[in-house]
């Protein structure tokens, strides 16, 4: 399901990926905000994130790597404002950003702000039981319906494959966890069990209570 949400048209407007996933696109123009972050290098003409954002055309897909660094550079308010601008601006087809939550203090608050803004927010979860990665995503449909799901993903060659996590069948689980019956007689050469007559006489015995 996740794969189809990522690929169906019209593309979902704001994809927020939290964790460590990389997304790549075609016809990429790189706006370099990484090498001269504070404008210390006076030889380069430093562009503002907002001015780049306002120059974007229809049909552009914006990929921002990474949101935490944008917050470091421009502060939370400015970054939120720019993303809001990008989202509401008609024409920009899709905005994709990666948010490393371990790079910010107060990640719960910050992730909530951007999750609110996003239309598809994917959170990478640790692996559990199976070897496939896990994602927890929230998808907001255009009609207003919100779908929350946990799915597993893997890469088969170049293909990104996602599948719903199957609920394990309780019968099968019980079968695998029940240990096979052990016959005590076979455990050792000593006679451990009791024959029926021995059991009877044991039951009949009155124990002296002193």
């Amino acid at each position: 399901m996740l794969r189809s949400y990522l690929t169906t048209l019209p593309h979902t407007k704001f994809v927020l990926i939290e964790g460590q996933v990389h997304v790549s696109g075609e016809n990429v123009i790189l706006h370099d905000f990484a090498s001269d972050v504070c404008g210390w290098d006076t030889s380069k003409n430093k562009e503002d994130l907002e001015s780049v954002a306002s120059r974007l055309n229809a049909g552009d897909v914006v990929i921002v790597d990474s949101l935490a660094h944008a917050i470091f550079q421009y502060g939370l308010a400015e970054t939120y404002r720019v993303f809001n601008l990008l989202k509401t601006k008609t024409g920009v087809q899709q905005i994709i950003t990666l948010f490393h939550t371990d790079l910010v203090e107060d990640k719960d608050k910050l992730s909530r702000y951007f999750e609110h803004l996003s239309t598809l927010s994917i959170c990478i979860e640790p692996k559990f039981i199976s070897g496939n990665g896990r994602v927890h995503y929230t998808y907001k449909k255009l009609g207003g319906k919100i779908i929350k799901q946990i799915e597993e993903y893997k890469f088969e060659g170049e293909e990104f494959v996602t599948q719903k996590i199957e609920k394990p069948d309780p019968k099968k689980l019980l079968e695998s966890s029940m240990r096979p019956e052990v016959d005590p007689e076979t455990l050792t050469t000593f006679k451990i069990g009791l024959t029926d007559t021995e059991r009877e006489s044991r039951d009949k015995l009155d124990l002296p209570y002193v």
Binding site: Q20, A34, S35, D36, V37, C38, W40, H69, I71, F72, Q73, H100, D102, L103, V104, E105
Partner: protein, 250 residues
Amino acid sequence: MSLGDPRISNPVLSALKIKLEDRIISVKENGHADSNFILTHLIKQILYEKNKLCLVSFHNSIDHYQNVGKKLGYDLLNAVEANEVKLIEPIKDIVENIGFEENYLQENKENVVKCLYFDIKKSLDELLGGSDSQAYLVIDDLSHLLDLGVESSLIVNFANYCVNLINTDGISVVVNSHVSSKIDEIISSNLQYIADVHIDVSPLKTGRSTDVTGLITIERLSEKSQYHFKAFDRGIKTFHPGESIYHLYK
């Protein structure tokens, strides 16, 4: 390769396997562990390979590096004389500025890191000046900028600037950061995301031991390896976890 090659004979260097292609190396020092030996051993390798070094030390004095260097088999001050090594010692400058709000102790923290960055850039340019060798920038350690009152976003930006120096062929960056608070984690994680090699030095989870000083975890894109290590007076021995008995009590 001869037996004299420390990249093979030295236990720490042979475990680290740092190659010329490793341009960004991040070292994380957890809790009470001391990751300084990683840096001093890397300096040994750098000098052996006849590469250049720019050492920025916030944590130890140059005398310390000279003393440890002598025990490991290299003379740092000689290398400084021979223009193979440039030293930037914020510690010395800070001591001289106590009482005056200048240089590292000035109010404008962005200026502090900006000036440091330009000092580093100048030193590296002088070291590289026309030669073919690789110049290594070693910073020990980044978390001290927090102690100077520089806020974490500025430190992340400063680290970013230092890392971008690798855009010049011939420069590699080694950054050590000590982690004992959430903010330290942020600074170290930032480097970990972009590092070619991430080296984590931690104490043993269960406490102190006479046989094992700590744990080294070396992470690259493709693989992760762990070693226990024991620090001696004149060097460090490394071994696979659980095998201390074979290596220490032969």
